[in-house]
Subunit: 341 residues, 2 copies
């Protein structure tokens, strides 16, 4: 090969775009292929949803502070989050695992305990997988399958001007949890005698190590009779996900900074790290909350819910995508995303 283009020059989203731009679908059952949280396949009386994720040691998890049971739980939970992000219900998962001889059976068993605990918690069946050796680290690949009633499907592309933008739970906690774990790892590296001091950080650390896919939010929306016009889960950070909705729905967004939901402990920890809590929420990622849009007509029903907050609204595409600060200043949202290391 004479030309060499570094993947880091492209970034994740451009890489995927380049690789898949000429992919055509020919199966009549394919409703949605690449480009949403899950693929959508027509099964007659309902849609099937399929999503897949890959977790790589040293990239997505650090064995020095990740309990294996939590890791197994998280691997399932983050994948199911993609099914919920289509307004669906997960039903089945497959799990593939590459492990080096560094891990004894007992470690793999612990990982599987977490996988099985998550399957039980969310009522999904573990129906297959592959187990193989790896030269170096551990890798976990999960595929989740789910279903959604046809009229309930929420793609990224359905947001309409004036729709309200909602987000579940609170944001930024997972990111600040990770910062604390990284800090304690450094302290421990410098002086292995010192035990990590994680007291008082339970909430944000659990947000990072053991995120809960928001099955309850989908249930709540069903109870309220609300079908989101668009939806995505927050894996890369609120800012990045807002841009996905804006691009795929061909619209703009206005999100009010003071409306972004933050837990008290996230705010406290951010102050300690001298970080703006809203910046953690916008750029941090790994919160696995649901970001969605609803018609204005659902405002009354939505405003009563304790499961999510209304944080802004959809505008026309020409207005672009911005965060509105309390003084009225608007800051354009910039694209984030994975970079090759």
């Amino acid at each position: 090969m004479s030309d060499r283009t570094e993947i880091s020059e492209l970034g994740e989203f451009e890489l995927i775009h380049q690789l898949t731009k000429d992919v055509k679908t020919t199966q009549p059952s394919t409703v949605q292929g690449i480009g949403d949280d899950a693929a959508v396949i027509d099964r007659g009386d309902h849609y099937e949803l399929v999503s897949t994720d890959l977790l790589v040691e040293g990239v997505h998890f650090d064995m020095s502070y990740t309990p294996l049971k939590h890791l197994g739980y998280k691997a399932i939970s983050v994948n199911l989050s993609d099914i919920f992000a289509m307004n669906g219900t997960p039903t089945h998962v497959t799990v593939s695992l590459a492990i080096s001889s560094r891990f004894p059976y007992e470690a793999v068993n612990e990982l599987y305990d977490g996988i099985k605990a998550a399957c039980e918690r969310f009522g999904v069946d573990l129906v297959g997988g592959d187990t193989t050796s790896s030269i170096t680290g551990m890798m976990i690949s999960v595929t989740a399958i789910g279903r959604v009633a046809k009229e309930k499907l929420a793609l990224r592309s359905g947001a309409k001007e004036n729709d309200l933008i909602c987000v579940s739970g609170d944001l930024g906690g997972a990111y600040i949890g990770l910062q604390i774990l990284e800090r304690e790892k450094m302290v421990w590296k410098d002086n292995p005698e010192i035990q990590p001091d994680l007291e008082g950080f339970d909430y944000v650390i659990e947000r990072f190590l053991k995120p809960e896919a928001r099955a309850d939010v989908i249930e709540e929306l069903g109870k309220l009779g609300i079908t989101p016009t668009s939806m995505i889960d927050i894996s890369d950070g609120l800012g990045s996900e807002l841009l996905h909705i804006a691009r795929q729905s061909q619209c703009g967004v206005r999100v009010y900074e003071e409306k972004i939901p933050l837990d008290a402990s996230t705010i406290t920890q951010c102050q300690e790290f001298k970080m703006e809590p809203s910046v953690c929420a916008l750029s941090g990622g790994e919160d696995y909350e649901l970001l969605f849009t609803i018609p204005q007509s659902d405002f009354e029903a939505a405003s009563k819910s304790e499961f999510f907050s209304i944080i802004g609204h959809i505008t026309d595409a020409a207005s672009g995508s911005a965060i509105v600060y309390p003084q009225g200043e608007e800051i354009q949202i910039k694209a984030q995303g994975w970079k090759s290391i």
Copy 2:
């Protein structure tokens, strides 16, 4: 952890058994979970099939002699093989990829060219995936989805006493192809001036580098009106797959050594390596042919087919599983399988 059991002590099949023995399924749609080539999910008027495979650099492929386009093609083909092994038709795939910065965009693009070529060849839609960085090597995880008419499903567990054992194509070629590639790699390592000499080895090398999933065999069985009573694809070697059928169908097998189909070039190359061709077929693996059983009543229809050979028959479980040599000697088949490295 006080106890440490090396995974290599268990081996692949025992590891999977230990990890998944207490997995229960609760979804009413789950027909078959872990333990066959693919999971089976009831979709009302048909069964859905789901299979997943993980290919790891340095374990499943060696970059020094694996063209990336072939690798992409193979990653899809071997997964679709699992769907065919249920007597089904593949419809959709997802592909996840972990890549280190060692690979430029052009390399990943070539890999995707192979992935897309295989999808086109088999008429399946690429509908999703995940792309991430890796610290070291490349890893490819593919999930294949397919469908089968309910009355056509072939599990590993349906073989009955006196059924005929059939195998498609010819065996052992992929294994001997790999031996040639490994030998030329060694020559090249010792003296990089010498170009690899692969002339005349096209067939066996292609068997290894670019296996074709046997869509045509499934089509042929349909035309002949034959529904196999059991089926599995040959990834670990004929011996290992025979034992899977014997164990899961609670029966024994008798396979006639002289009936094992071998290509002329496989025989020639085996002689050069001083290996028994039937040993390559039994223990080699990676042929991705289909091994299946049919009722005796289908003998006449089956014996006319050029797509597969009748190599033996099913016995009662007490008779065990053996290869019958021309002089009448019976050798018990031993379990093979992946070992942790």
